[in-house]
Amino acid sequence: VSKAQLFITCLGDQFCTSTLQNMTHLLEALGVELSFPSEQTCCGQPLFNNGFEDKTRPVALNFLRAFSSSDAPIIGPSGSCVSMVKHHYPSLFKTGTSEYELAVDIASRTFEFTEFLVHQLKVTDVGAVYPHKVTYHASCHYLREMGLKTEAKALLAAVKGLEFISSSEEETCCGFGGAFAVTFPEVSRSMMENKVKNIVSSGADTVVTCEPGCLMNVAGGLHKAGSSIRAMHIIDILASREDSV
């Protein structure tokens, strides 16, 4: 039995309870024994990405302490938050300090959910059934910082009944960008509307992404446009079974 620690992310915590429950069920079904360090809050990316490196440090330390009581891998449903821990945490601390050593250790065992499935557990078929036309939004940090280009599609390809439809500008940002969405709402709007237009014209009835942030943005955009297209986290597709669709 392998072990893992759940990193639920702050957006997941606030807005995606059922996705987190599904993540729990999926990993447990694959024989992973889970723990949930309840002291976790946010990875600190909103501060870090807005230039407040010094204000990020205490937030990162809270994260590092929360996950350091176990040496099990850490799994999160967000490429962006995982990338923050994996790629930016070590840069927050002076090399040689105990905080730096801890950050490097935690970074080396933090994984994005689909990455963990495909590369650690070597699983692409989780027995999901989802008989729908599905298109995909490649989230920026998931795609470019984590370098996850094929993993989500490999998992989707193994879902029974799922018909994959590509949409144009699949790899173009949806306009979320964290604080960007509230700093430049008009620009965020144009980018989101462009993304929604491409999703709608793909002809799919579901759009899937691996990022709670993009999901909030795109789902809200689809709702506002009066579209009936469902925006789903890939975890919720992978958790779909015959009786639930």
Partner: protein
Amino acid sequence: MSHDLPSYIGFEEYSKHVPASIPSAVQQATSRFVGGRAARVAELPEWEQLRQMGSDIRQHTIQNLDIYLTQLEAGIQAAGGHVHWAPTAEEARQIVLQIAAENHVKTVVKSKSMATEEIGLNHALEGAGIEALETDLGEYIIQLAGTGPSHIIVPAVHLKKEEIAALFSENLNINAPADPVELARLAREILREKFLNAGMGISGGNFLVAETGTLVMVTNEGNGRMCTTLPDLHVAVVGIDKVVPDWESLTVFLKLLARSATGQKLSTYTQFITGPRRSEGEFGPREFHLVLLDNGRSRILKDPVGREVLKCIRCGACANVCPVYKNVGGFAYGSFISGPIGAILSPQILGTQAARELPYASTLCGACAEVCPVKIPIPTILLHLRRRVAQGDEFSAPSLPAPIRATAVLTSIALAWNWVYRLGARLLPVINPLFEHHGWLSGLPYPLSRWTKVRPLPPFASRFRRWWTARTH
């Protein structure tokens, strides 16, 4: 014109009122370039190696600029040219004006140059009573329109052919049709006469080859050749960062530049200019002057993270793929250079007091870094400059307003003291009933109003923690 340095660049203010015609014109043009680039890149299996070589050579060169610039100067002087060092934009303008005055120049023809846009040269020339005419078609158009460029290589990318025809009709007292070929013919007719009568040609330069003192110009319209050969004087204004060590390294950049910029294997014209004509019988100008522009570059070089911006070869590929640029256009960046590269260059040239919004004008999506032919880590530099703006560093004091910095302090406390965060997460759902319509929150108060003015927010529903506790007990 970009003659006065902007005291503050209000990206957000501009972004609220982007003329609807701009994104559609920009997207139409840039998607053509993106497609062309992708096709050319796919043809070259060694593309990634070329990018790495380009990046390494540029990094090496900017870190050894003193050596290569000295070598360049010697080469140009040996070829009979003159080299002028311009520490600031003002000094660069004065140098050009003085050369013009000494030679009684009344009319100048210009080929496209980002360096002269940077120093606002046209305005200075006009101020001195010298007619300066842009001869690149795009530059000619924006000169008629009275604006600066909105793209590095396609200055008039924000205009549609109908708008250009209207500009021609209005400014030239003709009835110009909205037909690109005919518009180009009209411009050519007017420009031809100017080329023959101009006392001075002014150009920029894409590269400077240190080993031979050679100015390299990569162009497509042929006007560059006319500007640099027909008038008796040729003045090139070029940033000190444009030097490359030798011809062997130049070949790397010639392979990278046109492919990245326009999706061409090679541009129509690639000119190599080493000094003026050697004898009366030769074609070419009597005098060749190179104005080497610093304008903050030496200062940027002192910053090991920020200086990678000086690797730029001005291809514009970063703008062509940037979803922000494509939705706001180049004027939003408020300076001579726009797009992602502008967002990291302007704050370093103008300072983060004037350009503090620009490093934030990105979602950090990373599309720019993916295509940059010299691998400038644009998102990393954006983050670096955001830190300069938010916290200050050895180059600049913080420039974010106090309320934003106070918000960051409070956010840090709420996220680092996990009981505060968890209490907040439990309390937030209380506001749901006040704002919920059809399962979504809308009309939320500031600052969340800035989210809900664009799209609704899902209801706050932090239930996972309780669910987890319940199932494990």
